[in-house]
């Protein structure tokens, strides 16, 4: 059976990138499944986070990353709307 990464140059590149990232960050060679998992995660992050429209087009320029916690705290203390 042929290796799909060898027949798909883009996939081969992303696996090589993932392997380099693991070596740089972890100081060791990738173990079984790791390079694949990192490459696949990078792809999903682009498709489902960077490209997401869950905020229905809202400009996120002023949204702080802890907006969720602040909203829940307001609801908990019933001092205002979420």
């Amino acid at each position: 059976m042929s290796d799909p990464a060898k027949s798909d140059p883009a996939k081969s590149d992303s696996l090589a990138d993932a392997s380099r990232l693991i070596k740089t960050t972890m100081g060791r060679e990738p173990l079984i499944g790791e390079a694949n998992a990192v490459a696949a995660q990078a792809d999903r992050a682009l498709r489902h986070c960077v490209m997401s429209d869950l905020c229905a087009g809202q400009d996120l320029f002023h949204v702080e990353p802890d907006a969720y916690g602040a909203a829940m705290a307001r609801i908990a203390t019933r001092t205002g709307d979420a």
């Binding site: 173990l31 079984i32 998992a37 999903r44 829940m72 705290a73 979420a82």
Partner: protein, 458 residues
């Protein structure tokens, strides 16, 4: 008269208080069942019978002396192997921390101790609470008491297995993307994921600081509500634990509630027939009880499945960074491949996911939970799978399998809403489908009111 081990938690506590059974007798029965089933179900990582018998004897003496006792006085419970008790091991279902002795006691354990629990031992779980199947490379999987060939669900697999086999009367699990509700659904019991921030996580193993919730698996909705009321409330040792109003004893009547049940789209695509049938039955029961049923117009939810995973795995990756560098071979293959996923998420993308989490909560509250009091959906699209079918290791099928099992639960994890999993009647081979009921933040009372109505209607 049912056998003592078949009582609910509330019935067992009442029987002990009334002198109908002693804690020592009940604890002994639970130990005997745990020992008898361990080879078959593997629910426990560590069973501690002598300590439990000693605690039960002390509980009986306290009752006999007329001392005030808590609401679960003398009743045997056990919890997922991730809650610290000072001086005891918290292994997190792992090899990495298998001998780690805790310096402090988790807030939830302190509160259950004060309420009178008898601790029977540490329950099996997915390694570091990672994985909806319940597989564990070091301890073996806990099996499903309804059909041992099938998964018990994860990550609180031992909690589901031990409660579902009527060995213990309730157990703590933890829920980051579904880890209370999925084993509850697989094992035919009730599971309650409280609102994000409702219950302290001090002394609980962290997986994802933004998503982790502590809550119970139990035999009835009333039992799950009781445990949650015991463990909930502000705690200065967990900065994210909020000072919210307590869970109301006087919840709204079913007839005063509007319930959204989807009949198309994300939550009803590709359902197993048994699951679809139970969702329809739940709707009929709630309608019969006077609830107004509406069809929700839900925002697109496919991205939420991945965003939950992205946040969880990035945060987990930070928690495990040192040991993933130094002892990678001491992790199970699948857990290691999942923990490293966060390297594929640049920091700005993680922070974008957190921005979306806040905005999407406001959107969901404004667009959905202004039109209804609760949303009822299946907990899982299928009945619990046969173990061999979802044992995929670190292969490319890994993510597909995780998503197929946990896609419905992840939605309400991302939103942080209180969500209750309620089992249906036994169907094919004794397996039980499950629905989950989500409500606005801190409205666990609404989820429980509706859950109890479904229980009564079955």
């Amino acid at each position: 008269m049912t056998e003592p081990l078949d009582w609910t938690l509330i019935e067992a506590a009442a029987a002990i208080r009334a002198g109908d059974i002693s804690s020592a007798e009940l604890t002994d029965l639970a130990i005997q069942r745990a020992e008898a089933l361990q080879t078959k179900l593997n629910s426990f990582i560590a069973l501690e019978p002598e300590a439990a018998r000693s605690a039960a004897k002390a509980a009986d003496e306290a009752l006999a002396s007329g001392r005030a006792v808590g609401p679960i006085h003398g009743v045997p419970l056990s919890h997922k192997d991730m809650y610290d008790r000072a001086g005891a091991i918290t292994g997190c279902g792992s090899k990495i921390r298998a001998h780690e002795v805790a310096a402090h006691t988790a807030t939830v354990i302190e509160r259950l101790d004060e309420a009178g629990q008898i601790h029977l031992g540490r329950l099996n779980m997915s390694e570091f609470a990672m994985g909806p199947t319940g597989f564990n490379a070091h301890h073996g999987r806990a099996s499903n008491p309804l059909d041992p060939a099938r998964i018990a669900g994860g990550s609180s697999s031992g909690s589901g297995s031990a409660v579902g086999s009527n060995t213990i009367f309730a157990a703590l699990g933890s829920d980051t993307g579904g880890s209370i509700r999925l084993p509850a659904a697989c094992c035919g019991v009730v599971g309650l994921k409280p609102t994000q921030g409702r219950v302290s996580r001090f002394g609980a193993m962290p997986l994802s600081h933004s998503l982790d919730c502590v809550g119970p698996l139990a035999r009835s909705v009333a039992d799950a509500k009781l445990i949650t009321r015991i463990i909930a409330g502000p705690d200065g040792r967990d900065g994210a634990c909020l000072d919210a109003p307590p869970i109301g004893a006087e919840a709204p009547a079913v007839a005063d509630l509007t319930v959204a049940i989807p009949d198309a789209g994300f939550f009803v695509e590709d359902l197993a027939p048994e699951v679809a049938a139970f969702l329809a039955d739940a709707e009929a029961i709630l309608t019969g009880a006077g609830a107004r049923i509406v069809r929700p117009k839900l925002p697109p939810l496919d991205d939420v499945i991945e965003l939950t995973n992205l946040i969880a795995m990035t945060e987990a990756g930070a928690i495990h960074l040192d040991t993933m560098r130094e002892r990678p071979e001491d992790y199970g293959e699948q857990v290691r491949a999942r923990l490293i996923q966060g390297l594929g998420v640049p920091a700005p993308v993680y922070l974008r996911a957190m921005q979306i989490k806040g905005v999407f909560l406001r959107r969901f509250l404004a667009e959905v939970l202004t039109e209804c009091d609760a949303v009822v959906t299946p907990t899982m699209p299928m009945l619990p799978p046969v173990s061999a079918e979802v044992e995929v290791g670190a292969s490319e099928a890994m993510t597909r399998v995780m998503v197929s099992i946990s896609k419905f639960t992840r939605v309400f994890s991302f939103l942080g809403l209180p969500t209750l999993a309620v089992p249906g009647p036994a169907t094919t081979g004794g397996l039980k489908p499950s629905v989950q009921i989500a409500a606005a933040p801190f409205r666990e009372d609404i989820t429980c009111t509706l859950g109890e109505a479904i229980e009564r209607g079955l």
